[in-house]
């Protein structure tokens, strides 16, 4: 403990009247799979957005990989995020007019340089080697989510943040995606996964429970 890859200190986010997150003190260890669970509106996404540097805190601080991200300006935040964090969204958020391969390459493009071979390998790695040239609307939800994961991985971030990655998927596809995340975790990626499903949360070796913006419980599974 103490020197986790992600550490939040008294992290709060207030939207007008709503205290979306209140004084959260969380430590996430390198290489862990941490699940964040809680009912709808409990502040899970809010917490994740602040860890992923998409959002700034009302008060408190977030330290990711040794850097206090609360002190970074917009441009530095963007650079920090693209170097350190891979994002997996519930709605996949693929660019509708670009092919699977181009969607992955776009992340390379905004990170540094486009290496098509690497992008192909990333898609093959998530079992999408047969769907390079399909646009998102010609892919199933599970396939789109795997393209999204390939995109999250392409710049080799240490941390993977996933917000309800299986929320829009049936059980079979959900399992494929979770197995994939498990494999990535085994390969050394630190995973933070938000869910409201207790079964899914149990895949992690640490579970943080949020209720009404407050951390109510932290369960550590002995591995």
């Amino acid at each position: 403990m103490g020197n986790g890859i992600i550490v939040t200190k008294n992290l709060s986010k207030i939207y007008g009247e709503t205290k979306a997150l209140q004084k959260a003190n969380i430590t996430i260890q390198r290489g862990d799979w941490t699940s964040i669970i809680g009912p709808s509106g409990s502040g899970k996404t809010t917490l994740l957005n602040m860890i992923s540097c998409l959002d700034t805190a009302t008060s408190g601080s977030v330290i990711v990989n040794g850097t206090n991200v609360s002190s970074l300006n917009q441009v530095k935040l963007t650079r920090f995020r693209r170097d350190n964090i891979g994002l997996i969204f519930q709605q996949y958020h693929l660019i509708p007019y670009l092919t699977a391969l181009e969607n992955v390459m776009m992340a390379q493009y905004y990170h540094s340089i486009v290496v098509e071979q690497d992008a192909r390998e990333a898609l093959e790695n998530v079992g999408m080697g047969h769907r390079f040239d399909h646009i998102p609307s010609h892919l199933s939800g599970g396939e789109q989510q795997r393209v999204c994961i390939a995109r999250a991985l392409i710049n080799d971030p240490k941390i993977l943040l996933a917000d309800e990655p299986t929320g829009n998927l049936d059980q079979k596809n959900g399992k494929i995606v979770l197995d994939l995340i498990k494999r990535l975790n085994d390969e050394g990626h630190t995973v933070v996964l938000v869910t409201h499903n207790p079964d899914i949360s149990k895949k992690g070796n640490r579970i943080i429970e949020l209720v009404d913006g407050k951390v109510t419980k932290v369960n550590v599974k002995n591995s």
């Binding site: 996404t45 963007t78 650079r79 709605q91 670009l98 493009y109």
Partner: protein, 418 residues
Amino acid sequence: MFMSILGKSFSRRKGKIAIAIIAVIMGAAIPSAMFTVSLDISEKVSYEFRKYGANLILVPKSDTIQVGFPGVEFGAVTEQNMINESDLWKIKTISWRNNVLGFAPSLYQVVKSGEGTNEQRMVLVGTYFNKEVEILKPYSPDDKKIFKTGIKSISPWWEIDGDWIEDPNDNTGSLVGINVAQKLGLKLGNTFTIRYSEVPDDTANETEYVLRVLGIINTDGYEDNQIIVNLQVAQNLTNRPNEVHTVQVSALCNACPVDVFAAEIEEKIPNIDAKTVKQLVSAEMSVLNKVEDMMMLVTVVALLASALGVSTTMTTSVIERQKEIGLMKSIGAENKRIASLFMTEAGLVGLVGGLLGYGIGLLLAQIVGISVFDSTVSPRLSVLPLVLAISIGMTLLASSLPVRRAMKIEPVIVLRGE
């Protein structure tokens, strides 16, 4: 990758892009027409100015008699006056006489030539060739009594195939404009017949006259449609002895006090107006300036309208693509990359719109040239970069607000939206 994002986002939004391009075309066509017209016309005017050997034109004072009751005008009757040929020597009696290099009168008459369906009308011009003018009362006793002058000293730049008329008493020789020669199928040495009647188309009372082609002239001016002969030929044919319509005077000097010349000549010869060529040209120039002013106004309005159109389309585009922009930011696109994507898009729209607008502007320029200046306008390639700069600049400027809006998009908010 950039190209692929740009290309695909373009082809997906063909309709919107087309609207933006049309907006730019509207804005670009007007300045394109304006610059083309003003460049071309002012060049033509200054060419005419340069090529004029004459810097003064003498015309008879026209007495305009107002018709109607006091305060109620029905119109005006202009009596066509003439200048007396016998007064012309007085031009050489002004104090600036040594600067008068030459003068040449013109007597105009529309005549017909050719037979049947090939009948043509053209202007016969009588003027001086190698004319010896006697100075009756020289300004000073040292002045020569005889002054040799003619059209050659006024328009030495005429291109002549063949010869000038050298003999002032040649009553059949003529210089034929290149267009006339073509229409009548005339070659050097040919003879041809012209017909003249006092009342137009009074075929019963036509006088015929046979002329010989001594030279064919090519001036790119009115002369190309004229037949030029010794003055007495035209005077005899039309029975107007001692009469001329206008006189061109060439007065060469550095920083000519040409207005002083004009005033002195007006003093010496009764009932004429001496107009400086500068005055004539400046009339044309002032029309050009007025047209330019008006077009400038229209240009500003057109550019504003077009900027509004571009700005609206770009704003819609940004709003439609909010999610995409938010996503690009979330995976690491900095604001400047987003801005450059939209600015490139805008620049391309400006480029294409500018190119098409330039083309349409050329058509507009023709219309303005023909309807206002009676002259076709030749396309000017030098206008193209100017128009492109304007249209691209305008598009970028008009896009700057929508682009700022794109830069303000926060990924958290758009990615949250289900």
